[in-house]
Symmetry: D2
Subunit: 336 residues, 4 copies
């Protein structure tokens, strides 16, 4: 059994991560911290942890482990990286702090100055694109939820030079905003919204841009579900047919355990929809085309699983030499 530690286990991502780890057959959670909850039972914050016996501790009380997860608020990693990094040979960061390598891009989107060399030590935690690097990596930064969906839904086009610039339409449920948030995120005000909260310049845009190597303009709308992210991108594909496009996706993802190409000609479940992925580590992607040079690339995932905690566990599996799908085979709960 490998020993793992979670730093920052109070939020939704931390709770989901703990749920996956506690039920993971090859690891043991030897510590979980919270700056404000030290001493309290983890199950008071996360009901799925009932019976786990886990309690929050202080960072100072952590003991060495095989791998450490950082799941605190964005911006918290940089400050504790050296302290935490000393605890374990391997580290998986779920915050945004080291997702972007280019310091200029980081500063433009986050307003944070990061020394490039520190960011370069992190491998992008997207096994479908960087599996080999992750296996050997000491430090991995899990991408943002919408970035993951956008990147996976567009990578087959980007790698074939079919993308120049793209306009990604991203939609996100309320769990992406975290457990503590202001009145705009209260149930009464957040229910039923179609709230365009980032017409331009959302931070995940920078990740997609860096990962795909093309110019990206992303618009983000808060939509009414609790879990789930979807990205929809219309792309010009010239003479390439739908059949050829779909073949590219199947070629790239046919052997991937957690990416499925979903584009059925009929039925209720034709295209990627996070609704049918709740609790699963799948990212469904799909592409369809009209006969006039346009295609629609779609991606969908559970933002707390494949878009965060599940992606992190997938990376952990690779980093610790475990089977990649270990502890991640839940197929999704539907209907919910």
């Amino acid at each position: 059994m490998k020993r793992v530690v979670v730093v920052g286990g109070r939020g939704f991502v931390g709770g989901e991560l703990l749920r996956l780890l506690v039920h993971h057959p090859e690891v043991q959670v030897t510590g979980v911290t919270s700056d404000t909850q030290a001493g309290r039972a983890v199950e008071s914050a996360h009901p799925p942890l009932r019976g786990s016996g886990l309690r929050y501790s202080r960072r100072a009380d952590l003991e060495p482990a095989d791998l450490v997860f950082l799941a605190g608020v964005h911006g918290s990693t940089a400050a504790v990286l050296d302290e935490i990094g000393a605890l374990a040979p391997k580290l998986v960061d779920l915050t945004a702090d080291f997702r972007i390598r280019d310091p200029e891009l980081m500063e433009r989107y986050y307003g944070w100055r990061r020394e490039g060399e520190r960011a370069e030590a992190f491998v992008r935690g997207l096994p479908e694109l960087h599996r080999k690097e992750i296996i050997d990596a000491d430090r991995v930064a899990v991408p943002g939820c919408m970035a993951t969906s956008a990147i996976l839904s567009l990578a087959p086009l980007a790698s074939r030079g079919l993308l120049r610039e793209v306009q990604v339409d991203a939609r996100t449920g309320s769990s992406g905003s975290g457990a503590s948030s202001g009145s705009a995120n209260s149930h009464a005000l957040r229910s039923g919204v179609m709230r365009v909260f980032a017409p331009f310049d959302h931070r995940h845009e920078a990740e997609v841009m860096e990962a795909l190597g093309v110019d990206v303009s992303m618009t983000v709308t808060a939509t009414p579900q609790v879990r789930g992210v979807q990205t929809v991108t219309k792309v010009g594909v010239g003479e390439v047919s739908e059949r050829e496009l779909q073949a590219m996706y199947r070629e790239d993802y046919g052997a991937e355990p957690f990416v499925r190409v979903v584009n059925s000609p009929r039925g209720t479940y034709r295209y990627p929809d996070p609704k049918v992925l709740l609790g699963s580590n799948f990212c469904d992607v799909g592409i369809v085309a009209d006969n006039r040079g346009k295609a629609l690339a779609m991606g969908g995932l559970d933002n707390l699983v494949k878009g965060a905690a599940g992606g992190a566990v997938q990376c952990m599996n690779l980093m610790l030499g475990l089977p990649e799908t270990c502890g991640l085979t839940f197929p999704g709960l539907h209907p919910v």
Copy 2:
């Protein structure tokens, strides 16, 4: 045109009240206050007020009016009553401060000590039970949303001596918790709940008890809708038949403009359901009975309208000599 003032116009109840008053043909809103928002446009908090031109002011800047509404947080009225009371000859209080007359009951349920004589100056703002007193009253306290539903759904039984003690099951949407609230009321945590948050001793229980004159045990569950309150009460009725019970309700409420007796033998909309009352000032009530001595009394309303702001405007109409239904004829929006 009568001049009215709203003290505490930042919350959901205040916003709903302003919406009703701005569209009311016989009154003019001459002032609206907020402790924290003075100077800001009311529409920044309440989109339905777009174009109204209303701005929040300070209490000290209010000018005399014909009637003043108090719609701040519970507990705020007692402190400002004398100051505000001097502004207008008539006052309608939407807070809980003076809903209960019995000082002991007040202390038991709220932990507040109130001099009885101050509370006695307030008439319970339920026109269906106290129309005459309201017409002549200077001060009216609008009952709580769940109390209104429970009282109206049970009054025909209470007034005929058919109630001894009752166990009211109350369900309430999230807008009853107000706009600013903690993580338990965030969209992610509040969506889809069936959260029993008051198994016993909810404050509205005291109002029902005082209004009906019987022992009441109320249980309150937070349910997933934004607006709407429903109360369901099983009562023993001995030999009285369903037909007789329904006749009592029709007798009491047949002439009421805002209480409808709803118990159809078939169809989708058989019994009181707040879903079909959104935005309306109706309280639907209904009663059905089995043939074994039990009956089920049901009530439903929009907690922000009949359960708060609409009920207050109904009282205002009576107090200012206006037609009781003036400005309150919106029939409900359905489906939403």
Copy 3:
């Protein structure tokens, strides 16, 4: 009082139309038909009509009126047009049958052959673009809900030659699918969806194309709310600044009673969101731009009101010489 008749008053649009007409101060509903419900009370299908006394009748029993609305299923108008047209000098069609003038476009999108001259007799029922024609028209075809949002949110750009081709992202709630629909629209399967049900070639696309005179590619996603339509369109605007763009919108819509330009730099309610428009006849539009040549044009409305029944009443007001806003001043219910 003008006499109006509603043909096809069983669905959601018919119910909303009846709600508006029954409360309209200048008209009287003298007949409402349903092929399957003749003889039954309208309130059994539409609770907001409780107390209206309206009953469904057969088409054959209708008496002459000043204006007739057609609100049946799409495809039903063409067959009854001559019969119904004889009942009244004015006719407002809420079905899709005559929304498109170009017979080729009609056939491509609907598979229906329409004689062009019949469609040409219909004026597009969008007062903001065709007020004068509507005033004089005998026959008006109300545009589709998503088409209305897209057209109004893009018209200021189109009329200034700033649009070449556009990719409209449209999102729609479940009430757009009607009351009777299959299991895909059941609550369990429709809740929480982000279901791309028309990646290309949605019928409303044809309307937007014809109205704006540019090539349009529309993608439609079913989203989890009951009411509300939103369209979001990213457009290249070259050197035109955000300030200039917003000035164009204010210029075009500043005097419009039912179109508001909504783009605030801060706050919860910055951009058009149907959530705050429920029950209102507003279409909110907004435009923002980055500093790199791109803009985002947004539109939002209540699909049953401005996107259908409210738009139809607005046309009726113009056609009957009534004030345009008569019966349509409800400001929206929020929060719901």
Copy 4:
């Protein structure tokens, strides 16, 4: 590996059952039938089964197995019982057909005549009350979802003679109505409801009555969530204190793998709420008391898991000599 067959795998319960069985480490699904879908992929109806390769077959094509599940519509079991019973030595029925032993009760609640001896061959599939009988049983009838919650939340009182008669308030999400249902269950009409659809005489009432041996009056309200059932029952407990009551529950359920006693004095998650149980096989129960002789007994579960498919798998585990919790350890997904 044990071979199991599912008869009637098209509905929500069938889909959930297949999801659990496909991921169960000790069984293999060797057949799944649907009267209307024979030949089609199971994943077209149930997205979580994507990749399972399962196809619907006809009943006539089924091969012998170790255990067969009946998950078709209520009323379908009786007709096929002999045919299906011959396929396997063990049978678990998820329909209502043999839940009730008393033929008179069956006829009163269902209008069906059942020979008593056939019903007597079935053991009630509630391991917490009938574990030993289930282990030895050939035929087990899984109780209804609301019945399961009510029975488990009240059994500790009933077995101690503390119940005379009870009034159960039951609330149920939309998935309990199945995938194919009329317009009343459409998303637009079902969203946000508080629809009392059975004030009296709901069929599950009969099960509770028979299981607890006391007179039961159950009221059922359709509430807005998709999954989840909750029962709330106020009971008179005389002099018994809350502490003593909770001790009884802990005594009865302390060793149960799938019943948890949940009554915390504080926090967001104080009492049984199906929201935190989605996908899990837990039934949470709790009891609290005032100091005036009344107690509130609460139960909550996921109606498709512990209330149907999960309960059935738990019975199967016992009947096939497998560990009771095998394949049922998913802790619930939260927040959703």
